[in-house]
């Protein structure tokens, strides 16, 4: 292990990590938005739209992100839709994540017992109050563990971005290994930086899960 090499590579990796984070958080933010909307459409069985949403979920859940990115980045320009790499990365992550988040949120909504809605109604709450104060909080606390798992999964999936020539951590590592053959140092830095991104998320996720467990009703 050569510490001089490591310290000279640090700024390069740091920059690469910022790129991963920038696209990652944008993608995840939109994934949550898409997931939320799609889950509501699915849950309330809005005619036609619900069907389309179902196809979307199945399609994106059953194909790998790498292939989706290749399609978005290399195939869409052929039919006249220009794409740039960063946008493609965020879009791909948002679409993939949206499908996963939608299933998570929907199963959360479905887990809220029907008696909760009925009780709320009979207590005189109107429809929007019932949804906002009775259904959403309970659905949320049920979907948190799967939600955290999704966020970690999506952050890990960002490692395929190098395939569409985004200069993320993977790209940096492969590039430096190819240039100078300092394989060990490059790999150690790679592991270190991914741990730097993901361990805090994992720890925070665990805490969130423990917190909302108290909010559950029943036993």
């Amino acid at each position: 292990m050569n510490w001089e090499v490591i310290s000279s590579y640090l700024p390069l990796y740091w920059k690469a990590m910022l790129l991963t984070l920038r696209i990652g958080w944008l993608g995840i933010l939109f994934a949550i938005l898409i997931g939320f909307l799609v889950a509501i459409v699915r849950f309330y069985k809005v005619p036609v739209v619900s069907r389309i949403a179902g196809v979307y979920i199945e399609f994106f859940r059953n194909t790998p992100l790498l292939v989706q990115l290749f399609f978005l980045y290399f195939a869409l320009p052929k039919i006249g839709i220009p794409m740039n790499a960063e946008f493609t990365g965020a879009l791909g992550l948002a679409l993939l994540g949206g499908a996963y988040m939608a299933e998570t949120f929907r199963s959360g909504l479905e887990s809220v017992a029907k008696i909760q809605t009925e009780s709320a109604m009979s207590l005189g709450l109107n429809k929007s109050q019932t949804v906002l104060h009775i259904i959403f909080p309970q659905a949320f606390s049920v979907s948190v563990p799967a939600f955290v798992a999704n966020v970690i999964f999506l952050l890990k999936e960002t490692s395929v971005f190098s395939a569409i020539s985004l200069m993320d951590l993977m790209f940096r590592a492969k590039d430096l290994i190819g240039l100078y053959y300092k394989t060990t140092e490059c790999l150690v830095l790679l592991v270190f930086f991914y741990a730097l991104i993901l361990i805090p998320v994992s720890v925070l996720g665990d805490r969130l899960e423990r917190r909302v467990r108290h909010a559950e009703f029943g036993d």
Binding site: E58, P64, V67, T184
Partner: protein, 226 residues
């Protein structure tokens, strides 16, 4: 109507080559699934034991797999072992090792989860009926565990298949790489080949994974209230 480059697939043996590439991905995932099941089940059962050392090691292992992207693991095994131990692993073997390592962790966690989800009164009632610990395990606990385990582990198979698309990044010639080669080779005669070929690869993955996902969902629903 623009030329979408679908014609490329019907030239020569292109479609067969693409399917051959898919088989390479499938082969890697099937072998890895085999190892994951064979090693993950005993490991998961070991993790239900109340030993501090086992728990600590298992936790470390699961946390590594949970936090590290599979790509990073692939790089470590493929490039790292060459450097450190001087091994010359071929890319396919490296992928099988990584995906088994990953799948085994996932599988063991599923097995552990399934076992601890069986309520304690099941053990106690069975014992109260006079069954010995062997019959309790085989006739009471195992059938219930399998019902909880099977849908989730079938799901693991589709995730394995999807994740094997990463192996092209360490140079395994699988379906996506074959697609790339076909596009390169037909650059002049069919400039829009990327659309047809990558679209087909997407569809192939979907056709491969969707039925398995559906089976998993069906089993989950069928067994959920028993």
């Amino acid at each position: 109507m623009q030329n979408l480059g679908i014609d490329v697939l019907f030239k020569g043996t292109n479609m067969l080559r693409l399917l051959g590439g898919l088989w390479v991905s499938l082969r890697i995932s099937l072998i890895a699934v085999g190892f994951s099941i064979a090693l993950g089940i005993p490991l998961g059962m070991l993790m239900t034991k109340d030993s501090k050392i086992v728990k600590a090691i298992a936790r470390l292992y699961l946390e590594i797999v949970r936090v590290m992207p599979q790509m990073v693991l692939l790089f470590i095994v493929f490039f790292g072992t060459t450097r450190i131990f001087g091994w010359n692993l071929n890319a396919e073997l490296a992928s099988v090792i990584v995906f088994s390592f990953w799948g085994c962790a996932e599988m063991s966690d599923l097995v552990r989860g399934a076992f601890i989800s069986i309520p304690k009164h099941q053990y106690e009632s069975a014992r109260a009926l006079g069954m010995n610990s062997f019959t309790v395990f085989f006739f009471v606990i195992l059938p219930q565990t399998l019902r909880r385990l099977l849908p989730t582990s079938i799901n693991l198979v589709t995730r394995m298949i999807k994740t094997t698309s990463l192996v092209m990044m360490i140079g395994v010639v699988e379906v996506l790489k074959v697609g790339q080669q076909i596009i390169e080779a037909n650059r002049n005669s069919s400039p829009n080949a990327a659309f047809g070929v990558y679209g087909t690869v997407l569809l192939l993955y979907f056709i491969g994974c969707w039925p398995i996902s559906m089976l998993s969902k069906y089993l989950e629903k069928k067994w959920s209230n028993s």
